[in-house]
Symmetry: C2
Subunit: 585 residues, 2 copies
Amino acid sequence: MDSNSFFNPPGLTREGEGGATGAEQRSPQEELALILDRERRHSISKAEALRALSPHLLNELLRPALVPASLSSLPCWSGGLAGSAGAVVGKAYFSAAALLEERKRALQNGEDGRCILVLNAAFAGDVPAIEAAEGVLSAEGGYSAHASVLARQYGKPALTAPELRINGTGAVLGDLEFAQGDTITLNVPYSGPPSVYLGEGELIPRAVTDELSEYIALAKGMLKKFHVRANVETPREAALALALGAEGIGLCRTEHMFFAPERINLFRELILAISAEDRKLVLEKILPMQREDFTGILRIMAGKEVCIRLLDAPLHEFMPRTGEELESYSGYLRAGGKPSPSPGELRARIDALRESNPMLGHRGCRIAISYPEIYAMQARAIFEAAQALRKEGIESRLEIMVPLVMNPREFRLIAWGKKIEGDRFPGIADTEEAVHWEQNAEPIPYRIGAMIELPAAALGAGDIAGYAQFFSFGTNDLTQTALGLSRDDAVGFLPAYSRFDLLEGNPFSVLDERVKELIVLAVDRGRLTRPDLVCGLCGEQGADPAAIRFCMDTGIDYVSCSPYAVPAAILAAAQIATQFQLEKE
Amino acid sequence: MDSNSFFNPPGLTREGEGGATGAEQRSPQEELALILDRERRHSISKAEALRALSPHLLNELLRPALVPASLSSLPCWSGGLAGSAGAVVGKAYFSAAALLEERKRALQNGEDGRCILVLNAAFAGDVPAIEAAEGVLSAEGGYSAHASVLARQYGKPALTAPELRINGTGAVLGDLEFAQGDTITLNVPYSGPPSVYLGEGELIPRAVTDELSEYIALAKGMLKKFHVRANVETPREAALALALGAEGIGLCRTEHMFFAPERINLFRELILAISAEDRKLVLEKILPMQREDFTGILRIMAGKEVCIRLLDAPLHEFMPRTGEELESYSGYLRAGGKPSPSPGELRARIDALRESNPMLGHRGCRIAISYPEIYAMQARAIFEAAQALRKEGIESRLEIMVPLVMNPREFRLIAWGKKIEGDRFPGIADTEEAVHWEQNAEPIPYRIGAMIELPAAALGAGDIAGYAQFFSFGTNDLTQTALGLSRDDAVGFLPAYSRFDLLEGNPFSVLDERVKELIVLAVDRGRLTRPDLVCGLCGEQGADPAAIRFCMDTGIDYVSCSPYAVPAAILAAAQIATQFQLEKE
């Protein structure tokens, strides 16, 4: 296969390029079937079968697909340049402002609010609309196809059609004519010409076929020491991840568990509570919900590693902002028979939580230093869930992860507790002990680890490993801090960096060399202290073949990525493994 | 002297502690006179004379002082605990909200708006008021004397008086009774009991006495290789810095040159301009102003190094926000005969500049990548100023510094320019060449260097030094990014870190170990590429004796600090130098 396309990040290949060599005429499904058939007939070796497909082809196999029958009667235009692959359906809006307004209206009315941004060229100011849109159709991309760069950044399909003409609220594309608000369908395949349809195509999620499972199993057979896990937040996602070949959960975020509409007001009450006593009352209500969350995930993942990251969210993100949200929160307080603060008081308290740089503010385990009760509640929910499952005969392999660790003292306090001024800071270990004592049960085995996502933590890894039993590299935040670059804000000015060739690629897709150096330092220093330290990488770059190669070279034990990216990650790792074997022969 | 107080940061000593041993009964002036007299009579050696005074005593000598006669008739209360030393005058306000409101009112009416925050205990929410206040008087400090910690953080005098009683809008302190809005005077000396006066004491800036000059000269005589420079923005400050012993300017910020009321609207127009053509028109108007700024400073600093940092500011900071500011900007546009956008349009364009994490956003030299004309204008102003001064017989020693460097390619482009798509990116070197060609003059010698304030730049120092002729470590930003810690936001949660003993001190006052490691790495890697690389440190920690010791150990050539801190920094460096000499004997 073409070694160049091998290391290309997904969606960056141009028309006619990419995919497996000679595969332009076959669908990804057909291609996979052909390879498996040849391997079964021993006309090619296992290694050859694995090297015959691009990992990106597996991504393509798993993208939601358009049902061909749903398209047959729709007016269609074909052509243009693929900016980023995928298939999407939505109402066309001709400006960022119009799109955002429509989306707000739709979401308030319980509609799905799927929109497609249709415009001449995208600029930095269009970022919020691109983020909110299903996809982007543009006539020109400005320099370096700004619209495409931004769409890729947000994983949105994008198509550039120079023939597109927009006049006020009407658009013309070849024979297609549509007005603002009309539903259109974009189909930007991995290879082959893109199309635009007037009307609504039917999208179906792709199923995990037997052939895909067989191919994944083949790839996993090549991997001895390296593993692929998934980033998962719900039991449903955990089941999907297992079906797609994940060997465990590398990142189970817990903040989204608080975002559910019926829970958000509880969490708001927790954060706005002034006394520790009030916080404890709220936490008692949250505890059973969290326990249920963890029970569901741990049951499905029985016997497999589950790495749970304790709460990591800028507090302000949770706060009510709009009049509606403020009213919802006040209503919630009244329903609980609690005195509701005046709107002015409430706003003042919320404003006091506002931060000038939330990314560098009161988040991650800093919250646990201010409010130790929160992590204590989460740890209790985890251990109670594991104890309950044990009674069903299910053993859990727990890894508990502390986010945004800055130094070893902070980690030691949170993980292992400490007596302070007569009082005890409730470490995670203390909570486990309390739970098994209360239940008169055997201890639950677990590991406590540090998320390494700050340069100071990477450099201090030797000391942190004195207390941490595993490391997980959060490459998104590590990239942000090492480069002093906010992911949200950078999309506005990074295109100029591409223009002048000042970066090897978007550092949030392709690991920066200096970020890699920090990771290498941290692995080496950590293992000097603790030779059996397990190391994983769970950032967005985790599914990139180049990042996987880096991880394997560095001695990192696993990557963790979104469930749908797991097969491609396994294949990429298997290809690297077979390559090394070939080189050895 | 007491080695402990030697390394204590200023204002951290408690009553009865600190200062030179046995000096409690003498004023700093008397102490200095005594030591110089002994040295002149050879009863002590130069080294002994230098080791006899604490660097902090020199700071104390230079603090604005209260004129004793102005206090004699004022009712006075003495006692309490010094939280942070200094003398201030202002109107007493009993809550953060009341203080901020009064300050806003005063500033809008052209009054000086000096206020003192008087309250029972300070909390995180009081930070903006502490920042705006002249000083803080509190009854209790909450845990770890939160009010004092915050006041020190902002360099504001603070006094804790447990006897203080606040009732609504009246306060009682011993025999003193005062109402909200009454003017009070706080005097918190470096040693000796603090006092509160009812009424306005007269503050005078301290003059540089002959004795102080003599002592500084004595200290400078001990320094062979290590230098102390000053952070200076105006000719007046430059003159002060020279009088206080500075050997050059280590940091001349240029963004404040844009903040002057008569210039701010020009800068707003520059940033809000949509086309490069419009930007050039505005820059032509800013150029002569900048040239004048630089001429003034370079003239005073004739023959001494002047390190000018090119523009580094989050753009949004400059934008009009209040109705008044928006009106001022629209009025400015109308006066220039330009079409003024509607308030809605203007607000939309300003909102588009808003960033979620401005500290990690579109700032520093990233602005020059987006708008190369801005640095080109600044470079032109600098070189034209130097050419003009040469005609007066004054030679400049120019160092031009590029802020927030992320990688070597970015620095190379900005410093040395490049041909791109037929067009030339205007590097600083290109501008120098253009200026001396236009004027048919000899080239102006200069150095171009990188501000190392991101972990990626510290790690990549070896490559950056291939293009950069000097490094300057910006330890404020390097601390923020290495630790993932926003200075503004951290004041709210760092007290909890102190409570649990999780930090060696406030990392914005005392260099963190990991930040030091990054600096050592950068110096070593930089000098491997360029053995004669000049390195300086210009963060807030630059005047701290412990930081100076670290710089001398690491081979850093100079520190740069505020003019008033220069004598203390010179003394600290001289003490370390004599200590090493003693150890060698």
